[in-house]
């Protein structure tokens, strides 16, 4: 069930459903293998409260309707922390993250009035970095050598988008 307000040029985001258990490697945020049984148990637990502060969204390729990744949003109503994962078979996970940021940051900051939105991006994912900066995000934190790559390590950047400060409105009397 595509969310019309979370639709971009190449991808859209939607709520998770139980049948996604068959494609858990694409959306479950871990490098360790996960099978359908465990994925189903995870989904049943995580989805039972529709108003949970942690929401799991599937990232879908518009062209093929396949699950290409997952996005988890954890909020307390004022701040949102995002966690992204790309399916292991995706050739360009960097671009997928960038496409996701284009949709999600305006949604949370402008529509959702979040004071702060953060997401971690490895320092070598240049497309995501460029889009994050284009969206007005700033590098808040640089954690050195936190990401292991084959034969090398790269820094982890935590980007932060700041939303407008909440102010009180004058009450409207009838």
């Amino acid at each position: 069930m595509q969310a019309i307000y979370l639709t971009g040029e190449r991808i859209y985001l939607r709520a998770m459903q139980l049948s996604d258990k068959e494609h858990a490697a694409a959306w479950f945020n871990s490098l360790y293998p996960i099978n359908a049984t465990r994925a189903e148990a995870f989904l049943k637990e995580e989805l039972k409260d529709p108003y949970s502060r942690t929401q799991h969204l599937a990232i879908i390729l518009k062209e093929t309707d396949e699950i290409a990744g997952g996005l988890t949003t954890s909020t307390n109503g004022r701040k949102a922390m995002l966690s992204f994962t790309a399916a292991p078979w995706i050739a360009d996970g960097d671009r997928l993250r960038a496409d996701t940021l284009r949709i999600v940051i305006p949604w949370l900051r402008d529509e959702g009035s979040m004071l702060s939105i953060t997401i971690a991006v490895p320092d070598d994912e240049i497309t995501s970095i460029a889009v994050a900066e284009e969206l007005g995000m700033r590098i808040g934190v640089r954690l050195r050598e936190q990401v292991a790559r084959p034969g090398r390590r790269v820094d982890k950047l935590i980007f932060q988008a700041l939303g407008p400060i909440w102010t009180e409105e004058e009450p409207v009397h009838a």
Binding site: S116, G140, V147
Partner: protein, 194 residues
């Protein structure tokens, strides 16, 4: 000493036991410093007991929290820990807490933290660690720098206090930075003790 994992001069670290929950509950109810966190809260001993039980459920664990105990009488005075351990990338977040103000500012926390860093870097072979400090908590920030941590940045509007948004400060440390800081600390200890 009871079930020690790492042993220092005045303190040792061991696995948390269910009865340590009383120390944490007592500490949260008697916390006098209000700038370590946004809000002091008297947490339930029952909740701490569950948390301690959960620590030992998964192998390898996602979080490792160790009791800090005085060698002279085995009294548990707080805890140190590594959290959100990423075994693939070799990273984790560190944290420490001394419950009773009587034991703060006397070097027990620093000694315990150096033991924890030895555990993280030399026993379970992590590559780099990070820690988070709320901006008003200048004492913790200074302690981290003494332990070899380097400033890694800040996240704005992390918490609100007295109507003002305050930032969260991040620090990280690599093994060689910690080793250098520990040598400095040991030399200082030796000079003090003569």
């Amino acid at each position: 000493m009871r079930n020690p994992i790492l042993i220092g001069e005045r303190v040792y670290l061991r696995a948390l036991e269910k009865e340590d929950a009383e120390v944490f509950a007592h500490g949260s109810a008697n916390e006098r410093e209000h700038m370590m966190d946004r809000l002091r809260m008297p947490f339930s001993q029952v909740g701490y007991e569950h948390e301690i039980e959960d620590l030992h459920k998964r192998q390898p664990p996602e979080n490792i929290e160790l009791a800090v105990c005085l060698k002279e009488n085995d009294l548990c005075i707080g805890s140190v820990g590594i959290f959100d351990i990423d075994y693939i990338n070799g990273t984790a977040e560190t944290g420490s807490w001394l419950g009773d103000a009587e034991y703060r500012g006397k070097g027990y926390g620093t000694e315990a933290k150096h033991l924890l860093l030895e555990y993280a870097f030399d026993r379970i072979q992590l590559h780099v660690l990070h820690s988070w400090v709320w901006e008003p908590n200048v004492r913790s920030a200074a302690a981290l720098m003494k332990q070899g941590y380097q400033p890694a940045g800040r996240l704005e509007r992390e918490e609100i206090k007295n109507g003002v948004h305050r930032a969260g400060l991040m620090f990280d440390v690599k093994r060689d930075e910690w080793l250098a800081a520990r040598e400095t600390w040991k030399a200082r200890q030796a000079a003090v003790l003569g």
